[in-house]
């Protein structure tokens, strides 16, 4: 699964780790995050994430 980076603050969403602060369990693909999910650091929305590889 691909990692995604927040273009606003540089936070990296790693699907293997999930996002405990946003109550996202480990193993959740970025594509499967709810639309209401935001960056845990700067609170920007999902569309402000770029894939990294």
């Amino acid at each position: 699964m691909k990692k995604y980076i927040c273009i606003n603050c540089g936070y990296i969403y790693d699907p293997e780790a999930g996002d405990p602060m946003g109550e996202i369990p480990p193993g959740t693909a970025f594509e499967d995050l709810p639309d209401s999910w935001v960056c845990p650091l700067c609170y920007t929305t999902k569309d402000n994430f770029d894939p990294i590889d």
Binding site: G10, Y11, M21, P34, C39, L41, D50, I52
Partner: protein, 816 residues
């Protein structure tokens, strides 16, 4: 002895029985996009295909140039030359100015090739190095008529430089005359430059002169330069006629796109006459230059043959359209002058420029181009409009839609509003941009005075969102009847729908970004604009991001502050600050170089070839030109928490900070990270840092000059430098507190707070109330380093930032 060159498979005479010797120009990283892209992807197969295609359409020699920023020219030559020499029938021309690369290429090439090129630009240093190699390996060589003064413009100058080179090559170093191909250079006669009207004549005379005065030598031309700036179809014709004329003057070879060569016989007598008039600068109409006649003739005669093209699109129109789309400002005024002969200024704007910008907006919307390129397009649009405006009738203005833009009271941020201004005004709308910190009363007054159709409000701060919400009733009572557009970092669709829309009768509309605003303006024009609505998404489970840890440890040790009280620091190591810049956020977020539809590899190429060099330029500029004057006012203070309050002591006075508490679990409040009096009290840090006002001045100048691209880039860079300075100073304070044992290893570690404690900016989600700056300024007195507060507690200069520093190990970001 006949002059010839050779590949592994065949020998080729430099003087062809039917001239010219054709040198294929497409394997050039600078001149051919397709070759460059192949090279950048290490796609050497395509590099070979491009060479083979030229061979197939009649090139006698293939020119190879791999010099390109970010590429290893040597390595690329080492890969390509063996491939080319075994796979191509025709010989090569080694196109490089680096002696080491030339030598390596000559060693690798199994036949006799041509080296391209030498000149006297450096007064005669490199030429010796290269010519010795040419002699050693028995190659032929191209010599350009360039000397210390630059490219020779007139025939006598060109001939004189050729003679100097001949003296070195033949008399001093013993090359044979037939080993040298002189390129007397040609300049465009297609761009309308008065000084270049006789450029073709000078070049042809030089060819003749060189052949006469230096017997035995050969001549070569990069032919297509002559027609630069003209439409593609007319270029082909002019190039063909020019080639024919140059051959008549003694030209032996030319470097050209072999696929685009056109036989003279296929060109009508009439077309040829226009070419001769232009080449020989024959004025046949006192009112119109030969160039203008040429352009007019071919604009109606040629491109209409293209199938599928809209009939009304003539080449010059298409050229202007392309310039807007590609953000190219070269020769812009010439093109506009030509268009003005048959269109009104407002017609040019509405029929060509606006559709061009619209197309740019669509491409941006589809993720096919990036923001920096959009801004370059807007610059082209703006430069065109500026040129046309003085020629416009006043009445042309009146039917344009009018939009008022302002940053709301208490907010100094103008980049977002200015981007909206750039996009809207360059899409043909009349924008009244009335600045920052504008009170609602002024907005109402100006909206009425200018009789605008839409009011747009902007603001970055959390406070600004409140200001917008609260002022809705004021606009309602003042009787405004036009839609209000809202935009800014702290706004959400939900907030606008629930807290702004109800207070005002006409539509209140949330704008995500400048292009969203443009879309909404168009909706308004066609009567489809609606107030923003919001429905909770079906998967909505409202989760406040941030730490979830409800039980804050009360027994953590309180570090010892190095001093209690406030201090000023003015000697800050800028290199160390710049090392902390968050490049990911800068490149992707602020500069707009997002990956979009690119592959990972394409994106890396873009970063390497365009973005990193830009970054380095800024870094160097900032260090060199004193654009940053980094200073800090900071201090450590004895403190204690009392419920939602954090009370700090300084100079015998108490300063009471009142922080909000989260309304849902885990019900955090900033004061929780500090111990109460009963728990023994605590220590808090405060800092205010700035990079000074010079960069803000520079940024404002760029905006005023319509240099949109550089404006955004510089502003964004300065914002990130300010953030890096805060990061740097926070680290310094952790060191002073002795809590810097586990520090981050890289920028990402800083981003994700892999250190002990946290810092909280006033006006940000954990402590949104910016008026706390009043207390901070009483304690730290940052006026001493040139920072002041506005009446709304914002810091000036803009590139300043503040923070409360907490050492508690559980302290991390959260939002109330």
């Amino acid at each position: 002895m006949k002059a010839s060159i050779a590949s592994l498979y065949e020998s080729v005479e430099l003087i062809q029985p039917i001239k010219p010797l054709i040198i294929g120009e497409r394997c050039n990283a600078n001149g051919s996009k397709r070759f460059r892209e192949a090279l950048l992807e290490d796609d050497y197969d395509t590099c070979l295909t491009i060479a083979r295609e030229q061979e197939a359409v009649g090139a006698h020699v293939i020119d190879v140039c791999t010099a390109y920023a970010g590429r290893d020219e040597m390595k690329d030559m080492e890969t390509l030359i063996p491939t080319y020499s075994s796979s191509l029938k025709v010989p090569l021309m080694i196109d490089s100015t680096t002696p080491a690369v030339i030598e390596r290429s000559l060693q690798l090439y199994p036949g006799r090739c041509i080296v391209n090129s030498i000149n006297l630009e450096d007064g005669g240093v490199n030429i010796y190095k290269v010519l010795k190699l040419v002699k050693k390996y028995g190659a032929a060589v191209v010599a350009l008529t360039i000397d210390e003064k630059g490219m020779a413009m007139t025939a006598p100058e060109k001939i004189s430089v050729a003679k100097r080179i001949y003296k070195i090559a033949v008399d001093e170093l013993g090359l044979r005359p037939q080993d040298i191909l002189f390129d007397p250079l040609t300049f465009t006669i297609g761009a309308g430059d008065e000084n270049l009207r006789d450029a073709a004549i000078q070049t042809m005379d030089a060819i003749k002169g060189i052949k006469e005065e230096l017997p035995g030598v050969l001549t070569m031309l990069g032919l297509s330069n002559i027609s630069f700036g003209l439409s593609p179809a007319s270029r082909k014709i002019l190039n063909a006629v020019f080639l024919h004329e140059a051959l008549e003057h003694g030209l032996d070879s030319c470097i050209i796109d072999a696929a685009k060569m056109m036989p003279l016989a296929s060109i009508s007598e009439e077309d040829r006459e226009y070419c001769y008039d232009l080449l020989y600068d024959r004025v046949k109409d006192p009112e119109k230059s030969p160039l203008l006649r040429f352009i007019e003739h071919f604009s109606t005669a040629v491109e209409s043959k293209n199938d599928g093209e809209d009939e009304k699109w003539k080449p010059i129109e298409a050229q202007l359209y392309d310039k807007v789309v590609t953000g190219n400002r070269d020769d812009l005024e010439d093109i506009l002058d030509m268009l003005l002969q048959r269109r009104s200024p407002i017609g040019i704007i509405n029929d060509i420029l606006v559709p061009g910008m619209r197309h740019v907006g669509e491409l941006f919307g589809k993720g096919e181009i990036l923001l920096p390129f959009v801004l370059q397009s807007a610059e082209t649009m703006k430069a065109s409009v500026r040129y046309l405006e003085p020629l416009m009738e006043k009445s042309d203005e009146s039917d344009r839609l009018k939009i008022l833009l302002a940053t709301v009271q208490g907010d100094v941020h103008d980049i977002g509003k200015n981007l909206v201004d750039i996009i809207l005004s360059n899409n043909g709308y009349k924008v009244y941009n009335i600045g920052i910190k504008v009170p609602a009363e002024t907005i109402i007054q100006k909206a009425k005075e200018y009789d605008v159709d839409i009011v747009g409000l902007s603001g970055l701060l959390v406070k600004s969102a409140m200001v917008m919400s609260e002022s809705m009733s004021q606009y309602e009572e003042a009787g405004l009847k036009v839609p209000i557009f809202l935009g800014g970092a702290a706004l959400t669709r939900k907030f606008v729908a629930e807290s702004c829309v109800p207070g005002y009768t006409p539509p209140v509309v949330y704008n995500q970004d400048a292009f969203d605003a443009l879309k909404k303006v168009r909706d308004f024009e066609v009567g489809e604009l609606k107030a923003t609505t919001w429905e909770a998404p079906s998967d909505a489970k409202v989760v406040k991001p941030g730490v979830k840890d409800a039980s804050i440890i009360r027994t953590n040790p309180v570090p010892e502050a190095p001093f209690l009280g406030d201090r000023i620091i003015t000697d800050i190591d800028l290199e160390e600050v710049l090392a902390l810049i968050n490049k990911q956020a800068l490149f992707r977020g602020r500069w707009g170089y997002r990956r979009g539809k690119m592959t990972g590899e394409e994106y890396q190429d873009l970063i390497r070839t365009r973005v990193e060099p830009l970054y380095e330029d800024f870094r160097r500029q900032f260090l060199k030109e004193g654009l940053i004057d980094a200073k800090a006012a900071y201090g450590y203070f004895a403190c204690e928490s009392r419920e939602n309050h954090l009370v700090m002591s300084h100079n015998g006075k108490e300063y009471d900070y009142d922080f909000p508490r989260q309304a849902e679990a885990p019900f955090l409040c900033l004061s929780d990270y500090y111990k109460s009096a009963e728990e023994g009290g605590d220590v808090a840090g405060l800092f205010v840092v700035t990079i000074g006002e010079e960069v803000s001045k520079r940024t404002a100048e760029l905006y005023a000059a319509d240099e949109y691209h550089d404006y955004l880039m510089l502003h964004a860079f300065s914002v990130e430098v300010t953030d890096a300075l805060a990061e740097y100073w926070h680290r310094r304070m952790r060191q002073e507190l002795g809590i810097s044992v586990n520090e981050p290893e890289n920028i990402h570690g800083y981003v994700t707070q892999q250190y002990q404690g946290s810092r909280y900016g006033f006006g940000y989600p954990s402590c949104p109330d910016i008026s706390a700056h009043g207390l901070v300024f009483d304690m730290l007195k940052p006026e001493r380093i040139g920072i002041t507060l506005t009446e709304n507690y914002e810091m000036v200069p803009e590139q300043s930032t503040s923070a409360l520093v907490a050492h508690h190990p559980q302290a991390k970001y959260f939002a109330v």
